[in-house]
């Protein structure tokens, strides 16, 4: 029995997760049409970029970044305008740069100007609202019959899977670059900054610069997500960023159900898995007849419940204890 015991225990421990995964897959298989299954996966891949960005600010730097709603729309605005004017690839690249710049602004507000992190995010987000409208010139733009990076790839990857392949390639490149960066000296310094700032400064690392860098990368990813999404859906809306922070947080929290190890690799995998799982849960809920107006309420409830769970558990535990005492 001896050496087998750990494996056996591991399976027992993983069982609830396996059941969740299998149940989800069965639900997907039996209730959704194939086009919905694939469409949901495509969206999941695009929104994985958003989750990765929020993973950097919330999990690695451990600072809440509320500018996300603004930078997502910034990506949408830059991308949709360039695609509308015939250069979709340029739109994606510029969106990444613009997101990074916006992230730097939040970072500088927090570090150099001593603005509270939450307020700094709100300031950037609010400023971006005007900037985004200025870039887009009107509240929404359709890319109907315009070239996007998706339509450009249609001939290469075929009619059925081109959207899936393009999204997957971009996500793969982004997450690989992110993984490699986090293993460099600069990346390790960034991780340490969120982990223990005292130690970082005592190790001759400029923690302010690391935070600004972190916010730049985080918002570049969020903006990339917006840029991809607008070309994916062939439409750009100046309100598309609303609630994206909570959506990203919900994705991360869901992902952490599946991956409990706190390494960089698992963190990235967890954000991606969570973003995809979130889309399937949403698609399933809408399949059951949930009004699409409720999607944001839905993600808000997921985040609130997940964060409140430890407190709820404690409350239940305390009540149970009291009852068992009274019974005696």
């Amino acid at each position: 029995m001896g050496p087998d015991k750990p494996t056996y225990k591991k399976i027992i421990r993983l069982a609830p997760k396996l059941i969740i995964v299998i149940a989800l897959l069965l639900l997907i298989n039996f209730t959704m049409m194939e086009s919905v299954v694939i469409g949901t996966l495509e969206k999941g891949l695009v929104f994985s970029l958003l989750a990765l960005g929020i993973f950097i600010s919330f999990r690695i730097l451990d600072i809440p970044d509320l500018s996300v709603d603004g930078t997502f729309t910034l990506g949408v605005a830059v991308s949709v305008m360039n695609a509308f004017n015939g250069s979709p690839i340029k739109g994606i690249i510029l969106a990444v740069v613009a997101g990074a710049v916006a992230g730097c602004v939040t970072g500088i507000l927090i570090t150099k100007l001593n603005v509270q992190p939450i307020l700094a995010g709100i300031i950037t987000m609010t400023a971006l609202y005007s900037i985004n409208l200025t870039i887009m010139e009107r509240p929404n733009i359709s890319l109907y019959r315009k070239d996007t990076i998706y339509t450009m790839a249609k001939d290469i990857f075929g009619e059925d899977y081109y959207k899936l392949v393009v999204s997957a390639i971009v996500l793969l490149i982004a997450s690989l670059l992110l993984f490699m960066f986090l293993k460099t000296q600069a990346g390790m310094s960034l991780r340490a900054t969120g982990d223990n700032e005292y130690m970082v400064r005592a190790s001759s690392i400029n923690s302010d610069r690391m935070k600004i860098l972190g916010f730049a990368i985080a918002n570049a990813l969020v903006s990339l997500s917006g840029a991809m999404y607008t070309q994916y859906s062939s439409a750009g809306d100046s309100n598309s960023g609303t609630g994206m922070l909570v959506v990203g947080l919900a994705s991360i929290i869901i992902g952490e159900i599946f991956f409990t190890k706190h390494t960089i690799l698992f963190g990235i995998l967890s954000a991606i898995t969570g973003a995809i799982a979130y889309r399937y849960i949403l698609a399933f809920a809408m399949n059951l007849g949930m009004d699409s107006n409720y999607t944001k309420l839905f993600s808000a409830v997921i985040v609130a419940v997940a964060i409140a769970l430890p407190a709820i558990k404690q409350l239940i535990g305390r009540t149970a204890k009291r009852f068992s005492k009274e019974n005696r």
Partner: protein, 263 residues
């Protein structure tokens, strides 16, 4: 060589809580000196360390390290040549990163953090060798997150991190005070070994009077933000704990706190 010239720090200036934490302190630490610092609570020991490391900006005076004026350098800039240990063992290491990642960060002290790979293969051998010198078995746990280590292990690791690139100056702020007596003795032993082997100029705050006499070559006593007196040479060699206590109450105006006596 570290030189402090008339360094003063006042907290809460202009309020009722105004407190002169350092009052015109001048001090010269020669290369290779191992100075122990004692004094009662609030005497300015930690403030002295924080002034040297750059955590606090000083109000008046100048600080030189090897004839270079570092008074205006920021904390992280001074950290290129100053290694530091805190009383709290949790402060010196990043808990969610592995032992080798923590050492990798420390090993690039003073260099620009580039896009080069964080931990090179050839560095790993050096890390393993240095860890085995600590005698705590950490060399077999290089991929363990530091958060899983005990306080003593973390403090020993911090000591290694602070000295893996030999600093010009090592600041130890009661780095064994939060550890149990046995672990504290072990960490002190490692400290002395590393300091001696690399001939590192060291300032060590301690609450433990016998430690203050047993280690190092000079002892300075702070009281109310001033240097009360210093002990060195023959006088220090022949000094007993009781003798130092008496000297202190004669010279420093306030008595040793109970905490110091108990230690």
């Amino acid at each position: 060589m570290l030189k402090l010239e008339n360094v003063s720090i006042t907290f809460n200036k202009g309020t009722v809580n105004e407190k002169k934490a350092l009052d015109n302190v001048s001090l010269t630490v020669e290369d290779g000196d191992f100075i122990t610092v004692i004094g009662s609570n609030g005497a300015g020991k930690s403030t002295l360390m924080n002034a040297v490391s750059g955590t606090y900006e000083i109000d008046k005076g100048k600080i030189f390290l090897d004839d270079k004026n570092i008074t205006r350098l920021k904390e992280y800039q001074r950290a290129r040549f100053i290694g530091r240990l805190f009383q709290d063992p949790l402060r010196g290491t990043a808990p969610n990163m592995t032992i080798e990642e923590n050492l990798g960060l420390a090993y690039s002290r003073g260099k620009r953090r580039s896009l080069n790979i964080g931990i090179k293969r050839k560095d790993l051998n050096l890390f393993r060798e240095k860890l085995s010198e600590l005698g705590l078995g950490l060399e077999d746990r290089m991929k363990t997150p530091v958060g899983l280590l005990s306080g003593g292990q973390r403090q020993a690791l911090t000591l290694l991190m602070a000295t893996i690139v030999t600093p010009k100056l090592l600041l130890l702020d009661e780095h064994t005070a939060a550890l149990d007596p046995k672990t504290a003795a072990k960490v002190m032993e490692i400290t002395e070994k590393i300091v001696k082997e690399n001939n590192i100029t060291t300032l060590m705050i301690t609450h433990n009077v016998s430690n203050a006499l047993a280690y190092g070559n000079r002892t300075i006593v702070l009281s109310q933000g001033r240097l009360a007196f210093a002990l060195e040479g023959e006088q220090r060699k022949n000094m007993t704990v009781e003798g130092l206590m008496k000297l202190y109450s004669d010279n420093a105006g306030d008595a040793f706190t109970d905490k110091m006596l108990l230690d």
